[in-house]
Protein backbone atom coordinates (compact mmCIF):
# COMPACT_ATOMS: atom_id res chain seq x y z
CA UNK A 1 0.00 0.00 0.00
CA UNK A 2 2.72 2.49 0.99
CA UNK A 3 4.68 1.65 -2.15
CA UNK A 4 1.60 2.22 -4.29
CA UNK A 5 0.92 5.59 -2.67
CA UNK A 6 4.55 6.67 -3.07
CA UNK A 7 4.60 5.57 -6.70
CA UNK A 8 1.39 7.49 -7.45
CA UNK A 9 2.81 10.61 -5.79
CA UNK A 10 6.02 10.34 -7.80
CA UNK A 11 3.96 9.90 -10.98
CA UNK A 12 2.33 13.31 -10.52
CA UNK A 13 5.71 15.09 -10.64
CA UNK A 14 6.08 15.07 -14.47
CA UNK A 15 2.49 16.30 -14.73
CA UNK A 16 3.17 19.17 -12.34
CA UNK A 17 6.32 20.09 -14.27
CA UNK A 18 4.35 19.92 -17.53
CA UNK A 19 1.75 22.29 -16.13
CA UNK A 20 4.33 24.78 -14.91
CA UNK A 21 6.02 24.74 -18.35
CA UNK A 22 2.67 25.28 -20.06
CA UNK A 23 1.80 28.21 -17.78
CA UNK A 24 5.31 29.65 -18.26
CA UNK A 25 5.30 29.34 -22.07
CA UNK A 26 1.74 30.65 -22.36
CA UNK A 27 2.93 34.12 -21.44
CA UNK A 28 6.39 33.91 -23.08
CA UNK A 29 5.10 32.76 -26.49
CA UNK A 30 3.35 36.05 -27.15
CA UNK A 31 6.74 37.75 -27.47
CA UNK A 32 6.68 40.51 -24.86
CA UNK A 33 5.87 39.22 -21.36
CA UNK A 34 6.56 42.61 -19.73
CA UNK A 35 3.85 44.23 -21.88
CA UNK A 36 1.48 41.41 -20.91
CA UNK A 37 2.29 41.19 -17.21
CA UNK A 38 2.64 44.88 -16.29
CA UNK A 39 0.05 47.66 -16.41
CA UNK A 40 0.05 49.65 -19.68
CA UNK A 41 1.19 52.81 -17.88
CA UNK A 42 4.17 51.04 -16.24
CA UNK A 43 7.32 53.17 -15.96
CA UNK A 44 10.54 52.20 -17.71
CA UNK A 45 12.02 51.40 -14.26
CA UNK A 46 9.18 48.96 -13.54
CA UNK A 47 9.68 47.28 -16.93
CA UNK A 48 13.43 47.02 -16.34
CA UNK A 49 12.85 45.62 -12.85
CA UNK A 50 10.46 43.01 -14.24
CA UNK A 51 12.86 42.07 -17.04
CA UNK A 52 15.66 41.71 -14.54
CA UNK A 53 13.60 39.67 -12.05
CA UNK A 54 12.76 37.04 -14.66
CA UNK A 55 15.95 37.55 -16.71
CA UNK A 56 14.07 38.13 -19.94
CA UNK A 57 17.29 38.66 -21.89
CA UNK A 58 18.52 35.24 -20.78
CA UNK A 59 17.80 31.82 -22.27
CA UNK A 60 14.40 30.18 -21.76
CA UNK A 61 15.66 27.50 -19.33
CA UNK A 62 17.21 30.20 -17.10
CA UNK A 63 13.96 32.21 -17.25
CA UNK A 64 11.97 29.10 -16.39
CA UNK A 65 14.26 28.44 -13.43
CA UNK A 66 13.67 31.96 -12.09
CA UNK A 67 9.92 31.64 -12.67
CA UNK A 68 9.80 28.34 -10.80
CA UNK A 69 11.91 29.66 -7.91
CA UNK A 70 9.43 32.50 -7.51
CA UNK A 71 6.44 30.12 -7.65
CA UNK A 72 7.97 27.65 -5.18
CA UNK A 73 8.65 30.43 -2.68
CA UNK A 74 4.99 31.40 -2.87
CA UNK A 75 5.31 34.34 -5.28
CA UNK A 76 2.62 33.76 -7.89
CA UNK A 77 2.77 37.29 -9.25
CA UNK A 78 0.79 40.46 -8.60
CA UNK A 79 -2.56 41.39 -10.07
CA UNK A 80 -2.27 44.37 -12.44
CA UNK A 81 -5.81 45.47 -11.73
CA UNK A 82 -5.88 45.24 -7.93
CA UNK A 83 -2.14 45.57 -7.30
CA UNK A 84 -2.18 42.84 -4.65
CA UNK A 85 -0.60 39.35 -4.76
CA UNK A 86 -2.63 36.84 -6.80
CA UNK A 87 -2.47 34.40 -3.91
CA UNK A 88 -4.36 36.85 -1.64
CA UNK A 89 -7.03 37.27 -4.32
CA UNK A 90 -7.33 33.50 -4.60
CA UNK A 91 -7.70 33.04 -0.82
CA UNK A 92 -10.38 35.73 -0.78
CA UNK A 93 -12.42 34.19 -3.62
CA UNK A 94 -11.94 30.49 -2.90
CA UNK A 95 -14.63 30.07 -0.17
CA UNK A 96 -17.38 31.16 -2.60
CA UNK A 97 -16.35 28.54 -5.14
CA UNK A 98 -16.00 25.81 -2.52
CA UNK A 99 -19.46 26.67 -1.19
CA UNK A 100 -20.97 26.42 -4.68
CA UNK A 101 -19.15 23.19 -5.55
CA UNK A 102 -20.08 21.54 -2.24
CA UNK A 103 -23.74 22.53 -2.55
CA UNK A 104 -24.01 21.20 -6.10
CA UNK A 105 -22.19 17.96 -5.29
CA UNK A 106 -24.60 17.39 -2.39
CA UNK A 107 -27.59 18.01 -4.64
CA UNK A 108 -26.11 15.68 -7.26
CA UNK A 109 -25.72 12.90 -4.69
CA UNK A 110 -29.16 13.40 -3.15
CA UNK A 111 -30.90 13.31 -6.54
CA UNK A 112 -28.59 11.30 -8.78
CA UNK A 113 -27.96 8.31 -6.53
CA UNK A 114 -31.60 7.41 -5.72
CA UNK A 115 -32.65 8.09 -9.32
CA UNK A 116 -29.88 5.85 -10.66
CA UNK A 117 -30.70 3.08 -8.18
CA UNK A 118 -34.40 3.16 -9.07
CA UNK A 119 -33.61 3.13 -12.79
CA UNK A 120 -31.22 0.20 -12.31
CA UNK A 121 -33.52 -1.88 -10.11
CA UNK A 122 -36.60 -1.26 -12.26
CA UNK A 123 -34.82 -1.24 -15.60
CA UNK A 124 -37.06 -1.22 -18.67
CA UNK A 125 -39.96 0.16 -16.59
CA UNK A 126 -41.57 3.55 -17.28
CA UNK A 127 -39.69 5.05 -14.33
CA UNK A 128 -36.43 3.91 -15.88
CA UNK A 129 -37.45 5.51 -19.20
CA UNK A 130 -38.32 8.84 -17.57
CA UNK A 131 -35.12 8.96 -15.50
CA UNK A 132 -32.95 8.06 -18.50
CA UNK A 133 -34.65 10.72 -20.62
CA UNK A 134 -33.78 13.41 -18.07
CA UNK A 135 -30.25 12.05 -17.72
CA UNK A 136 -29.79 12.33 -21.48
CA UNK A 137 -31.18 15.85 -21.44
CA UNK A 138 -28.95 16.82 -18.52
CA UNK A 139 -25.86 15.87 -20.49
CA UNK A 140 -26.96 17.81 -23.57
CA UNK A 141 -27.90 21.16 -22.00
CA UNK A 142 -25.03 23.68 -21.79
CA UNK A 143 -24.61 24.85 -18.18
CA UNK A 144 -24.88 28.55 -19.05
CA UNK A 145 -28.11 27.94 -20.96
CA UNK A 146 -29.70 25.94 -18.14
CA UNK A 147 -28.71 28.69 -15.70
CA UNK A 148 -30.27 31.44 -17.82
CA UNK A 149 -33.49 29.46 -18.33
CA UNK A 150 -33.74 28.85 -14.57
CA UNK A 151 -33.40 32.62 -14.11
CA UNK A 152 -36.12 33.22 -16.73
CA UNK A 153 -38.50 30.83 -14.98
CA UNK A 154 -37.78 31.28 -11.26
CA UNK A 155 -36.51 34.87 -11.10
CA UNK A 156 -38.14 36.68 -14.03
CA UNK A 157 -41.51 34.92 -14.37
CA UNK A 158 -42.28 33.45 -10.93
CA UNK A 159 -40.13 35.92 -8.93
CA UNK A 160 -39.37 33.23 -6.34
CA UNK A 161 -35.59 33.53 -6.32
CA UNK A 162 -32.99 36.26 -6.98
CA UNK A 163 -31.17 36.41 -10.34
CA UNK A 164 -27.69 36.27 -8.86
CA UNK A 165 -25.15 37.41 -6.30
CA UNK A 166 -24.04 35.72 -3.08
CA UNK A 167 -24.98 36.09 0.56
CA UNK A 168 -28.37 34.51 1.25
CA UNK A 169 -29.31 30.85 0.87
CA UNK A 170 -31.85 31.79 -1.79
CA UNK A 171 -29.01 33.03 -3.96
CA UNK A 172 -27.24 29.66 -3.72
CA UNK A 173 -30.16 27.55 -5.01
CA UNK A 174 -30.16 28.31 -8.75
CA UNK A 175 -26.37 28.26 -9.31
CA UNK A 176 -26.06 25.03 -7.31
CA UNK A 177 -28.78 23.33 -9.38
CA UNK A 178 -27.19 24.58 -12.60
CA UNK A 179 -23.81 23.15 -11.68
CA UNK A 180 -25.38 19.92 -10.36
CA UNK A 181 -27.39 19.09 -13.51
CA UNK A 182 -24.51 17.59 -15.47
CA UNK A 183 -23.28 15.67 -12.41
CA UNK A 184 -26.77 14.29 -11.72
CA UNK A 185 -27.02 13.06 -15.31
CA UNK A 186 -23.64 11.39 -15.12
CA UNK A 187 -24.32 9.90 -11.70
CA UNK A 188 -27.65 8.47 -12.84
CA UNK A 189 -26.07 6.75 -15.84
CA UNK A 190 -23.20 5.28 -13.83
CA UNK A 191 -25.27 4.25 -10.81
CA UNK A 192 -27.81 2.61 -13.09
CA UNK A 193 -25.04 0.74 -14.91
CA UNK A 194 -23.34 -0.32 -11.68
CA UNK A 195 -26.61 -1.58 -10.18
CA UNK A 196 -27.42 -3.50 -13.38
CA UNK A 197 -23.96 -5.09 -13.41
CA UNK A 198 -24.22 -6.13 -9.77
CA UNK A 199 -27.74 -7.47 -10.26
CA UNK A 200 -26.47 -9.93 -12.86
CA UNK A 201 -23.75 -11.34 -10.62
CA UNK A 202 -24.01 -14.77 -9.08
CA UNK A 203 -24.11 -13.85 -5.40
CA UNK A 204 -27.24 -11.81 -5.97
CA UNK A 205 -28.95 -14.81 -7.52
CA UNK A 206 -27.80 -16.82 -4.51
CA UNK A 207 -29.16 -14.23 -2.09
CA UNK A 208 -32.46 -14.23 -3.94
CA UNK A 209 -32.71 -18.00 -3.91
CA UNK A 210 -32.07 -17.94 -0.16
CA UNK A 211 -35.30 -15.94 0.05
CA UNK A 212 -33.80 -12.66 1.25
CA UNK A 213 -36.07 -9.65 0.85
CA UNK A 214 -35.45 -7.30 -2.07
CA UNK A 215 -34.61 -4.44 0.29
CA UNK A 216 -32.02 -6.48 2.15
CA UNK A 217 -30.43 -7.61 -1.10
CA UNK A 218 -30.38 -4.02 -2.30
CA UNK A 219 -28.78 -2.71 0.87
CA UNK A 220 -26.27 -5.36 1.77
CA UNK A 221 -25.28 -6.66 -1.64
CA UNK A 222 -26.08 -4.39 -4.55
CA UNK A 223 -25.35 -0.99 -3.00
CA UNK A 224 -22.22 -2.12 -1.20
CA UNK A 225 -20.71 -3.42 -4.41
CA UNK A 226 -21.80 -0.50 -6.54
CA UNK A 227 -20.38 2.21 -4.28
CA UNK A 228 -16.71 1.95 -5.30
CA UNK A 229 -17.17 2.75 -8.99
CA UNK A 230 -19.69 5.46 -8.11
CA UNK A 231 -17.36 7.19 -5.65
CA UNK A 232 -14.57 7.10 -8.22
CA UNK A 233 -16.75 8.66 -10.86
CA UNK A 234 -17.69 11.51 -8.53
CA UNK A 235 -14.05 12.11 -7.64
CA UNK A 236 -12.96 12.14 -11.26
CA UNK A 237 -15.54 14.79 -12.10
CA UNK A 238 -13.67 17.46 -10.17
CA UNK A 239 -12.28 18.76 -13.47
CA UNK A 240 -15.78 19.05 -14.91
CA UNK A 241 -16.96 20.81 -11.76
CA UNK A 242 -14.04 23.25 -11.88
CA UNK A 243 -14.79 24.01 -15.53
CA UNK A 244 -18.50 24.23 -14.73
CA UNK A 245 -17.98 26.77 -11.97
CA UNK A 246 -16.45 29.17 -14.50
CA UNK A 247 -19.64 29.54 -16.57
CA UNK A 248 -22.01 29.13 -13.61
CA UNK A 249 -20.28 31.90 -11.66
CA UNK A 250 -20.44 34.19 -14.70
CA UNK A 251 -24.17 33.53 -15.25
CA UNK A 252 -25.11 34.10 -11.60
CA UNK A 253 -22.61 36.82 -10.81
CA UNK A 254 -21.14 34.53 -8.14
CA UNK A 255 -17.91 36.02 -6.71
CA UNK A 256 -15.71 32.89 -6.91
CA UNK A 257 -12.44 32.02 -8.63
CA UNK A 258 -14.12 31.12 -11.94
CA UNK A 259 -15.51 34.61 -12.37
CA UNK A 260 -12.27 36.08 -11.15
CA UNK A 261 -10.44 34.28 -13.94
CA UNK A 262 -12.89 35.41 -16.64
CA UNK A 263 -12.77 38.99 -15.31
CA UNK A 264 -8.97 38.79 -15.39
CA UNK A 265 -9.14 37.78 -19.07
CA UNK A 266 -11.49 40.65 -19.96
CA UNK A 267 -9.25 43.18 -18.19
CA UNK A 268 -6.08 41.53 -19.56
CA UNK A 269 -4.81 40.88 -16.01
CA UNK A 270 -2.40 38.14 -17.15
CA UNK A 271 -0.55 37.47 -13.89
CA UNK A 272 -3.93 36.39 -12.48
CA UNK A 273 -4.71 34.21 -15.53
CA UNK A 274 -1.33 32.50 -15.37
CA UNK A 275 -1.48 31.85 -11.63
CA UNK A 276 -5.08 30.61 -11.77
CA UNK A 277 -4.23 28.07 -14.49
CA UNK A 278 -1.56 26.64 -12.23
CA UNK A 279 -3.63 26.69 -9.04
CA UNK A 280 -6.66 25.06 -10.68
CA UNK A 281 -4.50 22.40 -12.35
CA UNK A 282 -2.78 21.57 -9.05
CA UNK A 283 -6.14 21.29 -7.22
CA UNK A 284 -7.34 18.97 -9.98
CA UNK A 285 -4.25 16.75 -9.76
CA UNK A 286 -4.30 16.53 -5.98
CA UNK A 287 -7.97 15.52 -5.95
CA UNK A 288 -7.35 12.89 -8.63
CA UNK A 289 -4.47 11.55 -6.56
CA UNK A 290 -6.67 11.29 -3.47
CA UNK A 291 -9.40 9.51 -5.45
CA UNK A 292 -6.88 7.04 -6.86
CA UNK A 293 -5.45 6.25 -3.45
CA UNK A 294 -8.90 5.93 -1.87
CA UNK A 295 -9.95 3.66 -4.71
CA UNK A 296 -6.98 1.35 -4.22
CA UNK A 297 -7.72 1.29 -0.50
CA UNK A 298 -11.21 -0.08 -1.18
CA UNK A 299 -10.20 -2.40 -4.00
CA UNK A 300 -6.78 -4.07 -3.47
CA UNK A 301 -6.75 -5.41 -7.04
CA UNK A 302 -5.86 -1.91 -8.27
CA UNK A 303 -2.56 -1.93 -6.39
CA UNK A 304 -1.00 -4.67 -8.47
CA UNK A 305 0.29 -3.76 -11.95
Amino acid sequence: MTRFVLRRIVQTIPTLIGISIAAFLLVRLTGDPAALMLPPEATQEAIDAFNEKFGLDQSLPVQYWKFMSAVLTGDLGTSIRFNIPVWDLFVERMPATVELAAASMSIALLVGLPAGIIAGLKNRSWMDAVIRFFAFLGQAVPGFYLGLMLIVIFAVQLRWLPTGGRGTWQQLILPAITLAAYLIALLVRFTRGAVLDTKRQLHITTARSKGLSSWLILRSHILKNSMIPIITIIGLQVGAVLSGTVVTEVVFNWPGIGRMMVDAIYTRDFPVVQAMVMIVAVIFIVVNLIVDIAYSFFDPRIRRD
Binding site: F136, P142, L196, M276
Partner: protein, 292 residues
Protein backbone atom coordinates in the same frame (compact mmCIF):
# COMPACT_ATOMS: atom_id res chain seq x y z
CA UNK B 1 -6.45 -9.24 -50.74
CA UNK B 2 -6.16 -12.74 -49.39
CA UNK B 3 -4.62 -11.89 -46.03
CA UNK B 4 -7.66 -9.86 -45.07
CA UNK B 5 -9.92 -12.89 -45.09
CA UNK B 6 -8.65 -14.11 -41.74
CA UNK B 7 -9.16 -10.75 -40.01
CA UNK B 8 -12.06 -10.35 -37.61
CA UNK B 9 -14.89 -8.46 -39.22
CA UNK B 10 -15.09 -5.12 -37.47
CA UNK B 11 -18.59 -4.08 -38.37
CA UNK B 12 -20.93 -6.94 -39.04
CA UNK B 13 -23.29 -5.52 -36.41
CA UNK B 14 -26.74 -6.96 -35.98
CA UNK B 15 -28.31 -7.31 -39.39
CA UNK B 16 -32.01 -6.78 -39.57
CA UNK B 17 -32.28 -4.67 -36.44
CA UNK B 18 -34.48 -1.68 -37.15
CA UNK B 19 -33.38 1.86 -36.47
CA UNK B 20 -35.24 3.11 -33.38
CA UNK B 21 -37.13 6.40 -33.61
CA UNK B 22 -34.75 8.49 -31.43
CA UNK B 23 -31.82 7.56 -33.67
CA UNK B 24 -33.80 8.38 -36.82
CA UNK B 25 -34.86 11.74 -35.37
CA UNK B 26 -31.24 12.43 -34.45
CA UNK B 27 -30.14 11.76 -38.00
CA UNK B 28 -32.82 14.17 -39.27
CA UNK B 29 -31.67 16.87 -36.80
CA UNK B 30 -28.03 16.49 -37.86
CA UNK B 31 -28.86 16.61 -41.57
CA UNK B 32 -30.86 19.76 -40.78
CA UNK B 33 -27.90 21.35 -39.00
CA UNK B 34 -25.61 20.55 -41.94
CA UNK B 35 -28.12 22.11 -44.37
CA UNK B 36 -28.28 25.20 -42.12
CA UNK B 37 -24.50 25.44 -42.12
CA UNK B 38 -24.20 25.41 -45.92
CA UNK B 39 -27.34 27.51 -46.56
CA UNK B 40 -26.20 30.75 -48.32
CA UNK B 41 -26.75 33.83 -46.16
CA UNK B 42 -28.32 35.68 -49.10
CA UNK B 43 -31.17 33.14 -49.19
CA UNK B 44 -32.17 33.79 -45.57
CA UNK B 45 -35.42 35.69 -44.89
CA UNK B 46 -33.38 38.55 -43.35
CA UNK B 47 -29.73 39.55 -43.22
CA UNK B 48 -28.43 37.91 -40.01
CA UNK B 49 -25.99 40.74 -39.26
CA UNK B 50 -28.14 43.70 -40.31
CA UNK B 51 -28.66 45.99 -37.29
CA UNK B 52 -32.09 47.70 -37.05
CA UNK B 53 -32.30 49.59 -33.72
CA UNK B 54 -35.94 50.51 -34.41
CA UNK B 55 -36.90 46.83 -34.50
CA UNK B 56 -35.14 45.67 -31.31
CA UNK B 57 -36.86 43.07 -29.09
CA UNK B 58 -39.65 42.19 -31.54
CA UNK B 59 -41.35 39.11 -30.02
CA UNK B 60 -41.77 35.94 -32.12
CA UNK B 61 -44.64 36.09 -34.65
CA UNK B 62 -46.79 33.67 -32.61
CA UNK B 63 -46.77 36.11 -29.68
CA UNK B 64 -48.64 39.38 -29.34
CA UNK B 65 -46.89 42.21 -31.19
CA UNK B 66 -44.87 39.89 -33.44
CA UNK B 67 -44.04 40.58 -37.07
CA UNK B 68 -44.37 37.69 -39.57
CA UNK B 69 -41.29 38.97 -41.40
CA UNK B 70 -39.28 38.18 -38.21
CA UNK B 71 -41.11 35.08 -37.15
CA UNK B 72 -38.82 34.20 -34.21
CA UNK B 73 -38.43 37.86 -33.24
CA UNK B 74 -35.38 40.12 -33.05
CA UNK B 75 -32.54 40.62 -30.55
CA UNK B 76 -31.14 43.64 -28.69
CA UNK B 77 -29.75 45.15 -31.92
CA UNK B 78 -32.85 44.38 -33.99
CA UNK B 79 -31.23 41.48 -35.85
CA UNK B 80 -33.47 38.64 -37.03
CA UNK B 81 -33.18 35.70 -34.63
CA UNK B 82 -34.33 33.01 -37.08
CA UNK B 83 -31.76 34.05 -39.70
CA UNK B 84 -29.00 34.24 -37.07
CA UNK B 85 -29.87 30.77 -35.78
CA UNK B 86 -29.48 29.28 -39.26
CA UNK B 87 -26.34 31.25 -40.06
CA UNK B 88 -24.83 30.41 -36.64
CA UNK B 89 -24.67 26.70 -37.49
CA UNK B 90 -21.79 27.31 -39.88
CA UNK B 91 -19.15 28.56 -37.45
CA UNK B 92 -20.01 25.96 -34.79
CA UNK B 93 -19.96 23.08 -37.24
CA UNK B 94 -16.74 24.17 -38.97
CA UNK B 95 -14.93 24.55 -35.63
CA UNK B 96 -16.27 21.40 -34.00
CA UNK B 97 -15.81 19.07 -37.00
CA UNK B 98 -12.33 20.39 -37.86
CA UNK B 99 -11.20 20.16 -34.24
CA UNK B 100 -12.56 16.60 -33.98
CA UNK B 101 -10.80 15.51 -37.19
CA UNK B 102 -7.52 17.14 -36.18
CA UNK B 103 -7.53 15.60 -32.71
CA UNK B 104 -8.53 12.27 -34.28
CA UNK B 105 -5.54 12.32 -36.65
CA UNK B 106 -3.06 13.33 -33.93
CA UNK B 107 -4.50 11.02 -31.30
CA UNK B 108 -4.94 7.95 -33.50
CA UNK B 109 -1.41 8.31 -34.91
CA UNK B 110 0.02 8.68 -31.39
CA UNK B 111 -2.01 5.72 -30.11
CA UNK B 112 -1.03 3.44 -33.02
CA UNK B 113 2.65 4.28 -32.64
CA UNK B 114 2.61 3.94 -28.83
CA UNK B 115 0.79 0.60 -28.87
CA UNK B 116 2.73 -0.84 -31.79
CA UNK B 117 6.30 0.11 -30.87
CA UNK B 118 5.89 -0.08 -27.09
CA UNK B 119 8.89 0.50 -24.82
CA UNK B 120 10.35 4.01 -24.57
CA UNK B 121 8.19 5.48 -27.35
CA UNK B 122 5.13 4.18 -25.55
CA UNK B 123 6.10 5.60 -22.15
CA UNK B 124 6.94 9.05 -23.57
CA UNK B 125 3.65 9.28 -25.48
CA UNK B 126 1.59 8.00 -22.55
CA UNK B 127 3.27 10.46 -20.15
CA UNK B 128 2.24 13.27 -22.52
CA UNK B 129 -1.28 11.84 -22.54
CA UNK B 130 -1.33 11.86 -18.72
CA UNK B 131 -0.19 15.48 -18.57
CA UNK B 132 -2.82 16.42 -21.14
CA UNK B 133 -5.62 14.61 -19.31
CA UNK B 134 -4.59 16.14 -15.99
CA UNK B 135 -5.64 19.62 -17.17
CA UNK B 136 -9.18 20.85 -16.63
CA UNK B 137 -9.93 21.35 -20.33
CA UNK B 138 -12.06 24.49 -20.24
CA UNK B 139 -9.60 26.33 -17.99
CA UNK B 140 -6.71 25.46 -20.33
CA UNK B 141 -8.65 26.51 -23.43
CA UNK B 142 -9.77 29.78 -21.85
CA UNK B 143 -6.20 30.67 -20.91
CA UNK B 144 -4.81 29.85 -24.37
CA UNK B 145 -7.56 31.72 -26.21
CA UNK B 146 -7.13 34.69 -23.88
CA UNK B 147 -3.44 34.98 -24.74
CA UNK B 148 -3.53 34.17 -28.46
CA UNK B 149 -6.90 35.60 -29.43
CA UNK B 150 -10.12 33.87 -30.51
CA UNK B 151 -9.76 33.42 -34.29
CA UNK B 152 -11.38 30.35 -35.89
CA UNK B 153 -8.02 28.63 -36.67
CA UNK B 154 -6.86 29.28 -33.08
CA UNK B 155 -10.09 27.81 -31.71
CA UNK B 156 -9.78 24.69 -33.88
CA UNK B 157 -6.15 24.22 -32.89
CA UNK B 158 -6.67 24.66 -29.15
CA UNK B 159 -9.75 22.40 -29.07
CA UNK B 160 -7.84 19.71 -30.97
CA UNK B 161 -4.77 20.00 -28.74
CA UNK B 162 -7.02 19.67 -25.71
CA UNK B 163 -8.73 16.54 -27.09
CA UNK B 164 -6.18 14.27 -28.81
CA UNK B 165 -5.16 12.44 -25.64
CA UNK B 166 -8.36 10.43 -25.21
CA UNK B 167 -8.04 9.16 -28.79
CA UNK B 168 -4.44 8.15 -28.13
CA UNK B 169 -5.38 6.21 -25.02
CA UNK B 170 -8.34 4.49 -26.70
CA UNK B 171 -6.36 3.42 -29.78
CA UNK B 172 -3.30 2.29 -27.80
CA UNK B 173 -5.49 0.01 -25.70
CA UNK B 174 -7.09 -1.50 -28.79
CA UNK B 175 -3.73 -2.03 -30.50
CA UNK B 176 -2.39 -3.83 -27.41
CA UNK B 177 -5.38 -6.16 -27.45
CA UNK B 178 -4.92 -6.90 -31.17
CA UNK B 179 -1.16 -7.36 -31.00
CA UNK B 180 -1.12 -11.08 -30.22
CA UNK B 181 -3.76 -12.01 -32.78
CA UNK B 182 -2.95 -14.35 -35.63
CA UNK B 183 -3.67 -12.01 -38.51
CA UNK B 184 -1.02 -9.60 -37.22
CA UNK B 185 1.50 -12.47 -37.07
CA UNK B 186 0.47 -13.43 -40.57
CA UNK B 187 1.05 -9.89 -41.80
CA UNK B 188 4.55 -9.87 -40.32
CA UNK B 189 5.23 -13.31 -41.79
CA UNK B 190 4.25 -12.09 -45.25
CA UNK B 191 6.95 -9.41 -44.97
CA UNK B 192 4.83 -6.32 -44.32
CA UNK B 193 6.57 -3.13 -43.15
CA UNK B 194 5.74 -1.30 -39.90
CA UNK B 195 3.74 1.28 -41.84
CA UNK B 196 1.78 -1.37 -43.71
CA UNK B 197 0.93 -3.26 -40.53
CA UNK B 198 -0.20 -0.09 -38.79
CA UNK B 199 -2.29 1.29 -41.62
CA UNK B 200 -3.58 -1.84 -43.38
CA UNK B 201 -4.11 -4.11 -40.38
CA UNK B 202 -4.44 -2.19 -37.11
CA UNK B 203 -6.25 0.88 -38.43
CA UNK B 204 -9.24 -0.94 -40.05
CA UNK B 205 -9.74 -2.87 -36.82
CA UNK B 206 -9.85 0.17 -34.58
CA UNK B 207 -11.96 2.24 -37.01
CA UNK B 208 -15.31 1.19 -35.52
CA UNK B 209 -14.36 2.29 -32.03
CA UNK B 210 -13.02 5.56 -33.42
CA UNK B 211 -16.30 6.30 -35.22
CA UNK B 212 -18.35 5.61 -32.09
CA UNK B 213 -16.08 7.72 -29.90
CA UNK B 214 -16.00 10.60 -32.41
CA UNK B 215 -19.79 10.88 -32.37
CA UNK B 216 -19.73 11.52 -28.60
CA UNK B 217 -16.69 13.75 -29.03
CA UNK B 218 -18.57 16.01 -31.46
CA UNK B 219 -21.28 16.52 -28.81
CA UNK B 220 -18.69 17.38 -26.15
CA UNK B 221 -16.79 19.77 -28.44
CA UNK B 222 -20.02 21.54 -29.38
CA UNK B 223 -20.72 22.17 -25.68
CA UNK B 224 -17.19 23.51 -25.13
CA UNK B 225 -17.43 25.72 -28.22
CA UNK B 226 -20.78 27.08 -27.05
CA UNK B 227 -19.37 27.82 -23.58
CA UNK B 228 -16.41 29.67 -25.13
CA UNK B 229 -18.75 31.74 -27.32
CA UNK B 230 -20.87 32.48 -24.28
CA UNK B 231 -17.79 33.78 -22.43
CA UNK B 232 -16.93 35.98 -25.43
CA UNK B 233 -13.89 33.83 -26.28
CA UNK B 234 -15.41 32.03 -29.28
CA UNK B 235 -16.18 33.24 -32.80
CA UNK B 236 -16.09 37.04 -32.84
CA UNK B 237 -18.76 39.42 -34.16
CA UNK B 238 -20.16 39.91 -36.72
CA UNK B 239 -19.99 36.15 -37.53
CA UNK B 240 -23.26 34.72 -36.14
CA UNK B 241 -22.81 32.19 -33.32
CA UNK B 242 -25.31 30.32 -31.17
CA UNK B 243 -23.37 30.70 -27.93
CA UNK B 244 -22.84 34.42 -28.45
CA UNK B 245 -26.53 35.00 -29.27
CA UNK B 246 -27.39 33.59 -25.84
CA UNK B 247 -24.67 35.63 -24.18
CA UNK B 248 -25.70 38.91 -25.85
CA UNK B 249 -29.30 38.41 -24.76
CA UNK B 250 -28.58 37.46 -21.16
CA UNK B 251 -28.80 40.99 -19.80
CA UNK B 252 -32.28 41.39 -21.29
CA UNK B 253 -34.03 38.33 -19.85
CA UNK B 254 -36.83 40.56 -18.52
CA UNK B 255 -37.43 42.28 -21.88
CA UNK B 256 -36.79 39.46 -24.36
CA UNK B 257 -36.38 35.95 -22.98
CA UNK B 258 -36.79 34.45 -26.47
CA UNK B 259 -33.55 36.00 -27.72
CA UNK B 260 -31.56 33.65 -25.46
CA UNK B 261 -34.05 30.78 -25.10
CA UNK B 262 -34.44 29.94 -28.82
CA UNK B 263 -30.78 29.60 -29.94
CA UNK B 264 -30.13 27.39 -26.89
CA UNK B 265 -32.73 24.89 -28.07
CA UNK B 266 -30.66 24.37 -31.23
CA UNK B 267 -27.54 23.61 -29.18
CA UNK B 268 -29.46 21.16 -26.98
CA UNK B 269 -31.02 19.43 -30.01
CA UNK B 270 -27.69 19.07 -31.80
CA UNK B 271 -25.82 17.74 -28.77
CA UNK B 272 -28.68 15.36 -27.99
CA UNK B 273 -28.66 14.12 -31.60
CA UNK B 274 -24.91 13.37 -31.54
CA UNK B 275 -25.25 11.53 -28.20
CA UNK B 276 -28.27 9.45 -29.22
CA UNK B 277 -26.66 8.53 -32.52
CA UNK B 278 -23.46 7.61 -30.69
CA UNK B 279 -25.43 5.27 -28.42
CA UNK B 280 -27.08 3.68 -31.44
CA UNK B 281 -23.75 3.19 -33.24
CA UNK B 282 -22.34 1.59 -30.11
CA UNK B 283 -25.24 -0.83 -29.69
CA UNK B 284 -25.16 -1.69 -33.38
CA UNK B 285 -21.43 -1.94 -34.07
CA UNK B 286 -19.90 -3.13 -30.83
CA UNK B 287 -20.56 -6.86 -30.62
CA UNK B 288 -19.17 -7.13 -27.08
CA UNK B 289 -21.58 -4.73 -25.48
CA UNK B 290 -24.61 -6.04 -23.70
CA UNK B 291 -27.69 -3.91 -23.97
CA UNK B 292 -28.82 -2.52 -20.60
Amino acid sequence: MAQHQTEPQASTGRPGRRWPIPALLSAVVLVGVVVMAIWPHSWLPNDPIQIEPALRFLPPAFMEGGDPQYWLGTDVLGRDIFSQMIAGARASLVIVVSAALLSLVIGVAAGLVAGHFGGRTDSIIMRLVDVQLAFPVLVLIIAVVAVFGPSIPNLILVLALASWATYARLVRGLVLSLKEQEFIDAAWASGASHGAVLIRHYLPNVATSIVIFTTFELARLLLVEAALSFLGLGVQPPTPSWGRMISEARNYLFEAWWASALPGLLIVATVLAFNLLGDEFRDRLDPHRERG
